[in-house]
Amino acid sequence: MTRPEQDVSIPVRARDRALRVYSRYSPAVLLLVVFSVEVGVGWFVIRDWHTAGVETRQMYARSVLGLRQIGDLQYQAQETRRSTLYALTTNDSNLQVAYADQSRDADRRVTDGIVAYLQEARMPTEIALGQKLQRDWSAYLKVRDEVLASILEGSTKEAVDMDLSGGVPSFDRVRQDLEEVKRLYDEQASEQLALVDASSHRSIIRLVSVVCFTLVFATFSVWAIQRNRMLSTVQLAKLQMDFVASISHELRTPLAVIQSAAENIADGVVGGKEQLAKYGSVIRNQSRQVTEFVNQILLYAATRDRRHRYVLRPLAVSELINSVLRNTAETVRTAGFGIEQHIDPDLPPVMGDLAALSQCLQSLLGNAVKYGGSSRWIGIRAFSQEVHGRREIAIAVTDRGIGIDRSEILHIFEPFYRSAAVSAAQIHGTGLGLSTARSIAEAMGGKLSVQSKLGAGSTFTLHLPVAKQQHLPAAAEPPRRDAIAQP
């Protein structure tokens, strides 16, 4: 178990710190941003395609269909005049009437076409042009009616004169109007084409911009991830070196004491039963300390091994706590601590591995002894609570010791982490206790939380899920002591 220090990590610049925070979430962020950007790009492209399609269809409808309409109008206008002139070519009244009929049919189609054009016209220029065409066409039809009447009456010369003097000029005006309408359609088509071109150009710029942004962002993210990995590797190497140095130091002291005591006994320096008992006690205590260190390292290694499997079963909370208290009774008593425990009655059983949970709580209790300060008081409280609609059992271990600085709270669960202040205070530890405890808690489906105030003490709370109904029959069985196995 460790205590946080001010800064045991490799000194990093503010940029690296920011990168580390960023890159902790960077793969997910990268994926999210790239996905979002891709969706955005897709949306933009689809929208632009749709817009371009709509604009093209409108352009086609307004220009191509409009030109076809105007072409039809021109043809029908010519047909009106042509049929009138055909009537001049015969003296047969029946044929003349048939030609007059054809001319009137064609003029009706032209009149309808002009009305349709006026209905579709939106711009003032279009409306004015349509009205002028309507006027000129009506003027031509008046002349045409007179010419037809003259032809049918048999006054061919009069009809020809009338057509030359009135019909030709008025029909020319109609033809000019139709040409003007056609020119207007051409202009509008050109404008629409320019708009579609602009829209297409805009789409390409947008697409290129977004792709460039995506590339830059992805490059930056990859760089950040790589840099963070490098920093993490370097930091891990430093931590491991610190760990090796710390362990060596922690092992060297008790081993030196044991060696010294053993040499004294072997050399016959120690005499008398009382002296031997004292040396035996020293050797036992130092051996126990070494064993504890080795056990912690093995336990950490076991929790890091993903192949490790826990045996989860319903456990009575009081049994669990009593087991922990029994295992740590001597340590607590030796350190001169008193334990105040409060276990709520009728607590439901929890799901967990007895050995692992015992180890976890023992680690918390050991920390409370180690960092409990001069108060010599440890509180253990077990209670039930509901978090986000889910019932859980909380086992809180509280001390009134040195507490943890707020800046170190985030680091104390990192493996091998030991604060400079704790190291300076010659408080021994591996820096693995809390990391191991949290791994165990999470493996049980729970979590480990901490509340601490510098100089006032800390509370570490183990949150465990309540055993489900279908597991309850097994809860009736007494917890197996032999289940407390070293992982």
Partner: protein, 177 residues
């Protein structure tokens, strides 16, 4: 039989008769008299201000002895081809001639200059109607049911073809035949 019972029967019979007459009248439609399909309607262009012509005036026109309408439009005669019952009826009832006299009249009139215009000859009633529709000064004739709104029917001696007193009938022509 009691007198009151006899009066009741007479009253019921009278009511039944009145009801029957009313139903028959209702079945036969409106107050507007239907034009007789054998009446010969005289038609002009809708722009022609003339509404009524007497039989002598009509005769003068159809014999080509009148050149212009009161609005100074030139009169154009429209006839159907020889042999058609409408033409026969017009020549007999308006011109009071036979077909050969009518033809001769125009040949002679054109030669002497007494006739201002020879009639235009069309093959069908539809052709006649369309011709009159197209020519403001045209005058022609059709069976009364063949008339539509594209042309105007003028009264003859103050009577429309739907009137009983209307003087021009194709039926008489058929009977004569």
């Amino acid at each position: 039989m009691q007198p009151w019972f006899r009066r009741l029967i007479v009253a019921a019979a009278a009511v039944s008769c009145l009801y029957g007459v009313g139903m028959i009248a209702a079945e036969h439609g409106s107050d507007e008299p239907e034009p007789d399909e054998n009446n010969l309607a005289i038609i002009v262009n809708t722009a022609n201000p003339i509404d009524n012509l007497s039989l002598p005036e009509l005769r003068k026109i159809f014999l080509g002895e009148r050149a212009h309408w009161p609005n100074s439009r030139r009169i154009t005669l429209v006839m159907m081809e020889p042999g058609q019952p409408e033409r026969k009826a017009l020549i007999r009832e308006v011109c009071q001639m036979s077909e050969s006299d009518f033809t001769r009249h125009f040949l002679n009139g054109v030669f002497t200059g007494e006739v201002f215009a020879t009639p235009k000859t069309l093959a069908s009633p539809v052709g006649v109607r369309k011709f009159v529709f197209n020519v403001p000064g045209a005058i022609g004739y059709l069976r009364a049911p063949e008339v539509d709104s594209s042309v105007k029917v003028i009264k003859v001696d103050g009577h429309l073809p739907s009137d009983k007193e209307y003087p021009l009938h194709i039926l008489a022509e058929r009977a004569a035949r």
